[in-house]
Symmetry: none
DNA sequence: TACTAAGCGAGACGGTACGTCGCGTCTTCTT
DNA sequence: AAGAAGACGCGACGTACCGTCTCGCTTAGTA
């Protein structure tokens, strides 16, 4: 998580393990209660269906019981606030059983199918246009997404290792194929697609292809 | 295209072939020059990267050289204006050669890959959050998208008919699989995916699957 | 009265008798109802004892039932608004009888003594610091004050003409002397001064002086 | 000078000669450097023309190199700070020669005429609106003013005693008459008044009156 | 040809949210 | 315990757009 700071020239990134202990900033430290209240207010509102354009800083401040300046002191733009809100979302990852590759992939696809109801799932479409423009926001979002995809990658690699999948399988492409239809159906952009057993059908189709000669 | 009309209570849909000739409204007719200037202004601004939230009616009116009332007289909401703007976009469809199914699918996938540079491609991410909420806008957008997908469906059905593809192929699912990765890579949400020959690889993988035993 | 205008480049002063008829500005004309409501709100608040620093534009707008922009569209600064408010105050002038110079001067001095209760009287101390800095506001205020002083000047000149006053009387100085004590006592800056019959005593003292040998 | 004290409930007035030695408060004593720096900062800013409304505690603290709490620990309101600042101003009093009453009065009137350039003179208009409302500030200001007027009173009483002035002269009224025009001209509220030899003319007119028959 | 109804550009209207600044209070570490 | 530093909740600032409304003018079809 990045710290935006106005007067205090601190821009720590948590990458380095040993942080050169900055000479503790003077003055009253920023309240973590306020920080949390703000983030929570943003997430609540997004989950409740508030549009990003409607999500006014004024409303966030009111709901969080916080002054507007307290928000602007921490985040320079609304984007930055959204980034932190997105990053703070750590929905539990699905855990594949590890026995059957097919079953695990179906489990993951189904988990993706229910992602619409998670906080992250609700955030996604709201943030789309910003993702295109704001690199920081995109990075934050992708970091969250990649943690989920890593699980799928693990299953695929396991399948390659144990001979269930072809040794030359393009893992990244397979990940994309597996998540694509479910994701699209979530976005409502595939209205004609039958969602019954969608997860099973996607997995089976990707596994065996559609070409006639086998 | 739907006509929103304020004073004149006309809500004509162009579906019926024989339109009950409304008793031509009196007074000065609406200027098509103004209409076009407004739509053009919206599209220009979207293509230039203006966010939907920044795309103020005031700015559209100024750029179109039009009074605000002239806009509100035609469209009740900003959504409605966006819908019409989206609908007015008719980027040329790719035309598959009709010889090889694989080549045609690759052609279409490539066309999708370059869609980012079309007006519709640039509109997409801007409209995402609205699409979730506004049924009308979603319908307009999907209509545009489906015209493109119909081409792919045609190719797939031809493949089924001529025996190139399995007879039980789920066309809709295949469409989703074929467009998914390319679409995702356009959105920047698959950063690890190698885009070299992506279209070919997607098509070949979908055609033959990834399972080891064939 | 000066017109401040933002977009419209009109800065008419009512000095010229024949105004070159400006080509009526385009767009909806400014509402005189709003204008009056704003001025009235300011005067009401000042008279009620609101400090200038407390007299927020926001409060004025709320009390006048007007949007803030409607105020800022007309007056660039709070000063300018105050100037117009002051200028709009036309408390009735006292009218001397015209018989006895002494009686008339006493009447005027008494009128000044009661000026504290007039709107202009309540405005005065609020505006003092601005008067020092803002030439326009000072001019507006002085114009109002001078209309009152002109009445006194008239009485004094009449006294000179009919021989009641010395022919070499310095009218301006006399005006200052006559108004000074009453004004100062109004400001509360002469707490030891007995205000009983103050008007009579001021006039008599100015008329006859304080030197022993006559 | 009054001491406002928050935690320490001390409200000492310096009137009593023998101060009951308070049991020296514990902890670090208040820094007189900070006190002086604050008062100096206020006076500097007022003299530089800062409006009272612009004279923010924040700016005073910054200019004085002092924390805001250090100011609020000493003065409960901005008024209180202003009062102390005003009281701290001890511009040197003019000292009349004591020979001619007329010459002494002219000297005092001239001193008043140059008062505009003193710190107290610059403070006056800034404080006007507050004087109307805040009793404590008014008392502080009047105490300063009265010290000056006492000198005039002394001269007038001397004139009465030695027969130069009428025995029934209303001293307070005379003080008001003598200071009125000069004061008014300072405020810029008598623009038509010729300021050449104003002091002499005021004194002579007050001494001899303006009535024709002598 | 004159009338009339509606559209036109322009811009003012009452509002709401913006991002900034100062208020007076508080919380931290240092002196 | 006072000091400086600065964050806190609050609320006004002046700006920008919202969607609506009034202007004077233009552009048709109807009388």
């Amino acid at each position: 998580m990045t710290l935006w700071s106005k007067s205090r020239n601190i821009a720590l990134t948590m990458s380095s393990t040993v942080v050169t202990t900055a000479p503790r900033p003077r003055g009253r430290p920023r309240s973590s209660r306020a920080h949390d209240a703000i983030i929570d207010a943003v997430l609540e509102m997004l989950v409740e269906g508030t549009r990003v354009e409607e999500l006014s800083i004024e409303a966030v401040a009111a709901r969080a019981g916080v002054g507007k300046a307290t928000i602007y002191r921490r985040w320079p733009h609304k984007h930055a606030l959204l980034i932190d809100a997105v990053e703070s979302v750590k929905d539990p990852l699905p855990e594949p059983g590890g026995v059957s590759v097919r079953d695990d992939l179906i489990l993951l696809a189904k988990a993706l199918g229910t992602a619409r109801d998670t906080r992250a799932g609700k955030l996604f479409p709201c943030l789309m246009p910003e993702l295109q423009r704001d690199g920081g926001l995109r990075d934050a979002y992708l970091a969250m997404v990649e943690r989920r995809r890593d699980v799928t990658r693990g299953v695929l690699r396991r399948g390659i290792a144990d001979g269930t999948l072809r040794p030359d399988t393009d893992v990244e492409l397979a990940v994309a194929l597996l998540s694509g239809p479910v994701l699209s159906s979530l976005l409502g952009s595939l209205p004609r697609l039958d969602t019954t057993d969608l997860a099973e059908r996607v997995v089976d189709t990707v596994l065996s292809g559609i070409a006639a000669e086998r």
